[in-house]
Symmetry: D3
Subunit: 334 residues, 6 copies
């Protein structure tokens, strides 16, 4: 069932509730923050994060937050360090000014990919960032489609792990899926892909990806039947596009009829736009709006689906104290 | 290269180092603890964990631990809650008695399977247990083959995540692997399996497991070529055996020539022994000694490989301050 | 004055208050939890704590707890470690799901007996368990008749220490006490006994107990006049019954006319039922329902008094923000 | 066996060890601190705690403490708040200046009497003070004869609870004890007294003390045989003397032949000296030197036993990493 | 604009709000606490802090604080250590009794002068005291005119730093300031003085103070024009008066026409009254009532301005959740 | 006395000590890190901090740090957020890999300027960054010339606050200072300037700076005699140069003969180089090497003094456990 239908037209909050709630945006993605606030019938609270001449960031909230539920919307999109620092400073200001609760709404929690030890003496950055958020005053964290579900456990405060699953299901359900196969570009991260395949009643295939460097990927094998099919590559994130292109190369050898790419977080950094534009088999790249997409970072054939209503619902339900299990990313026991 | 060769014959520690080090065992697996201590040329320290008539556990360490590096060996094998409580109490005693550092050596960290949200309002028990260990005084944790590598990030103190990889590679390397294929019973957890396949130069296959309940598993699909081959099923743990039997059922339909099961943690609880004994295709079940295996929980055709030397090396290297990267489970970036 | 009278018939909460409150039970004592909820006009919230095939416990709360005051009722009765682990997991779930406050209601806090160092390098388990509860998310703890009043100070969060004093006073007040004497089986823990003697206007006697082991007690002396009297032995807990039987042996030599045993926590573990049934001088054993009493652990001549209303009042007053000093166990300065 | 004999003449530390160790004193009891240092062959480190004109205290350590084990000796004798603040500031300085470990040696931990709730909304000051010490940087606490053994559990860092037991046993063992009885002035705190009676092979008696106010005590009853005997009253502390005088009044009615008072902490505050001098039955008051005793606070017939060697041994053994169980106050299970 | 005008006559709170709020006073300054409560239409809550015969302080709150916002008013005036300890105990009681929030209102935070390292191994006492307050349970701190604005950052909980600026501006605005100059006695702390000069449109002068000891000050130079003018010396605190007298000596040499002293915290300890009375050039000493001023510590020509309404407003606005930026001490970027 | 003379030629550490010590550099200022290591006879440890294609930073230490004292050198120079994030990740890696102690050496702690509330709901960023460093694992922090000395108190771990005072004194002492005056550009921060004036026996002058924005400063007044003199402007940092230029403008009106600028941290960001080059009165700009100075950020007439030996001494003395008071920035009581 469509998320839109489920939520209906009556999503704006009552005045009493509005009075208890404030939504702010850092500099990362004010448009998404605005959409979320608008969904709830709110304006964004006035906030500024600026740089001093010595490159230090300073944050300021323009209205009193005393005894309010404060939500700060900030995906950790590039420049990541600046956006993280802005978020930490805004959380700290809200805590210090007596907010009743302080919520870090992080549509794209980029550090989630650094979730384990790949080598000795390498940081598990996702855990560190989770701890920094709590140090800065976050009493609750909201994120979407973390690289692995275990990252949820890195947070020592309550965390909501949302999924864009319903948005993708809605989008595909309107299409003829009779020849489609869901393709995971990484056998080690195919559980989420399998969930989508199951929801749509589609078969599943997976590549055995070996990442040689951050920007260089080799596919050492392939499992499942894709020959002649419409391959829908599903992943959590596109950054440089290396993994997507490598998967498409592999699929090309299998003579697939058509390739669609469907990822939650579309960053398209570095050579990604050029790379993806060069792969003619890809007929559509579907992403959500968890990160801002300026014109120069938009590949051709791009479709952007909004997830603002999902974040809006989490905030609405949080303030009203209702259950919000339906919006979360849960994982069948493996 | 074999771990045994690497470590050589000179594994016992010098007297100076022995004086700084104490190894204790809870009631879970004294034999493994003894093997680890013996590897280092030590005796286990005297310790008791007993129950009062009201079923409370009391722990006592029989020698002074002041200014010593204290290692407490305790896999969280059944009865899990009692073994966890024993461990927590022993850690607390060591901390309170002025130990210089307190190490929880947990060869089988059972709660690692509860590493994510499977449903709303379900605990991520692995994170809670990690926090309880720190509350009780652990300054360092050593575990082997956690269900997912991200569990490493649940610990707020330094943690070493060891692997039995070298022991399995050594065991298989002496055999004719020309017709073998490595089989992962769960596409969502096949990264570790892929590592073993790569190390042995073997192809990989994976099942798309859907767990219907803790003790009931359905395989909804299969990826990769196994027909007529020697299927080596690799997994982190066997408890009730449901997953192993379901995978074997699927393999049987593919007419595999032979099935070997290779898991780190062999618990064989409930109906496991009976179930596994009934599957005649399985020619060998290879496990390590991370959990105790009393006669009644040993299936037929069982082979147990010792990992005591791996834990011994970690302790040795920890006390000597040397690098121990080679023993760890690291995960190629995915 | 009777507690029952004080509370009157109007103990059920109003709807507004009910909406802010949820009571759950672990597996230890659902009947008591139900009685407490019933006293307040509530149903227990749906919750499950189950075991996986590897003996790990998993906890689940069946309704949203967001912004609610959550009370989890779980005495630490045998099997203690499992019941403690269930409680910790349920607290953790409630915290992680955004409960407004999380209350551990522990009618029998068994670890309270391990409240001091009896030997070098022995854990003060009561302090450790107090810390584990806070780590798991408890923001408030409610317990009844702790072994020593100082255990109250082990909690770093607010704790209510309740007493069954009023229930025992009510029970005895209806009887002819002219020949009665209150007997403490342990001179080192006779302050609580003295309070009851004073409330009833009765004389006091005490034995100098020397515990040789958990299950073996020697009485080395006796202070006070008991000859020919009705001896009412008052203690906090009966587990194996060794202490009660030893005290009765001593009293028999003093030719007491009759013996009544009155304890808050009646566990009756191991040989307790058989032992107590064999002591014919005991005409009645009065306990409360802080721990579950299955038929096989009920000695003859048993009388069970309910304390559900006391826990109900604490919850009621906590949610309504009223003072509840009258229900607590306070201790005259010594 | 005598503590003095056990420790022998060779108590001074070697130069290597001395180099790792620094002992400082606050203003409370420099003489005891000096005795402790002297026992170990050390001089006290230079330290000052002074008051500014606005009555603020400032603390300064006169030598580098970097990487040293720092012991700060300060009983919480009157003026308590100033002495506590001095101690907290000195701990904080030592921590901030890079000490390897910071030990609060508190021969008289006065707040230990506030160890439980005597009324609603009364602080458990002993727990608060324990937490303040840890906040200020204490990594280890040493105290002697706490009012109740459970106070040990209030400390979240390792704590050593010492006893003057051996000093009292030595002192009495040289005397004719054939007619002696050990008397506890409070049946609720007679466990420690019972231990001394047992060590000396003497009978035990106890009063049922009811404290009406801090300075007014009524004895409501008496248990045990004292008539015509030499009554040795044993307690942890004398402050105003009210309790001691009330016990003596009770004993006088029993025609005891002689009264000796034996307490660890002799404060003799307010009217204590006058009161005790007026009770002619008391032939000796034996205290230790845990608190300073200026001439005006010394009653007649006073005997002061030194416990400096016990603190010296704890420090010595702590720095050398040896077991020190024999010096501790342990409590037989009750 | 005058603070009085801004606040108007309608400062008493409504009944609903009163019900959520409790104000207590320690022994330091009950009169100010009463004025603050009175301003809000409240009575002070009943509380006692008393001393035991062993000089320990015990605190008690006389009404239930469960779910209330609790404000405890206590300047750290002499005797500082006792007043701090009272405050810590009262905070701890409020936290332990289930207060919803616990506010330490410290009109004079004396330790603020120890805000940096003046020498090696000297404590930054202000930071330690800030941490002790949080350990004891403070969730919010209110202070006025800290010695340096950075002390604000020492608090790990929200802190409000109030200023008496408006009170001083109001007082001076009614006078002929045509010949006045604002004088800072310390060039290193002249930012606050400069703010007052700017607000009144007056010129600024400053002395280069060198403090030789706590009670001895030398002025090594002077900057700015004061000759023949009305010198208004502005400072945060007068304790012994040494600094004020030294500044006046310097001004006398410049033939100033008149001297007024204007400080927030008037302690007048030790020789201050005598010293100040001897300086005839001083025509008025203006202080606020942040500390109690018994007759013997009042110099001649003293004027006391009340700041009760400023504290009242902070409490009012805090409970009502309104913005209170106007009352705070903010500092132009330097 | 010169720092160089004091330290002499024998600054390299012995082999034993070298073995306990590792120095790493982030990407901010490897040259300074190398100089510090070289001073001690060490090579920098191998470390990398790189960016993923999604702009996330990953840090890696190339050798084992187990049981070592690890020093990480990283000034928070622009790009500040990236350099801070690198530092946090490297600290976290060192902690997680079992380092014995983890030292953040931050020659330029840029956030120190955000040390107080300039407006309501503005973050005290210096305190937040101090807390982030501790969260990431720093057990000790070393910084130089913080904007205000109170920032020292923001750290909850030991912190060393170094000064370049000796380097500046040495540099000026070789010159003819007969006509010189030390000028503070901000009367509110002139204590440090006054210290330098006193050390050199020079007079002091100060401007009353009013900062209108980060990059726009107005001088509202001036105190002290500068006419015809050699004005040596002393400050902690130059960023955009606005403050320096405004001070020089003011000095020009006083007909000073010559202007020298002397600051610890020379950032020269934005228009600084152009601005400063345009002010012909400035005959020299003296800075230290706490931040890297690429050619394009070097104004004319620049003189760079090295402070590597000061950091080297702190490390040396820290590892050897000696007192290092002489290197610190201490502040006379004001």
């Amino acid at each position: 069932m469509s998320q839109d239908t489920a939520l209906g037209q009556d999503t704006a909050l009552g005045q009493d509730t509005l009075d208890r709630l404030l939504i702010f945006s850092g500099n990362a993605h004010p448009r998404l923050a605005h959409e979320i606030a608008h969904y709830l019938g709110l304006e964004l609270g006035p906030a500024t994060a600026t740089k001093f001449s010595n490159d230090n960031i300073s944050a300021h909230l323009g209205v009193s937050v005393r005894s309010r539920h404060v939500f700060i919307v900030q995906p950790l999109s590039p420049p990541c360090s600046d956006h993280l620092m802005e978020l930490l400073l805004m959380l700290d200001v809200a805590r210090g000014a007596g907010a009743r609760s302080v919520h870090a709404v992080i549509p794209y929690f980029s550090y989630a990919r650094s979730d384990k030890k790949d080598a000795p003496r390498i940081s598990i950055a996702a855990r560190l960032v989770a701890d920094l958020l709590v140090t800065a005053g976050a009493t609750h964290v909201v994120a979407m489609t973390l690289h692995s579900p275990q990252v949820h456990g890195f947070f020592s405060v309550p965390a909501d792990h949302l999924t864009a699953h319903s948005v993708f299901v809605d989008y595909l359900n309107g299409q003829d899926l009779s020849n489609a196969v869901i393709v995971s570009p990484d056998i080690g991260h195919s559980k989420r892909t399998a969930n989508l395949a199951r929801a749509l009643g589609l078969p599943l295939a997976a590549a055995d990806k070996v990442r040689q460097s951050d920007d260089s990927v080799v596919m050492s094998g392939f499992m499942g039947q894709v020959r002649g099919k419409w391959a829908i590559i599903v992943d959590d994130e596109i950054a440089s596009g290396a993994s997507t292109v490598a998967t498409t190369d592999l699929l090309r050898r299998e003579n697939v009829s058509r390739v669609t790419v469907m990822v939650t977080h579309g960053l398209f950094t570095g050579p990604a736009v050029e790379r993806l534009n060069a792969v003619k088999e890809i007929d559509e790249i579907v992403v959500t709006n968890t990160v801002p997409l300026p014109p120069e970072r938009r590949p051709e054939r791009l479709k952007v689906l909004s997830v603002a209503h999902i974040f809006g619902e989490v905030i609405r339900h949080h303030v009203l104290g209702e259950s919000i299990g339906a919006l979360f990313e849960f994982w069948p026991t493996g």
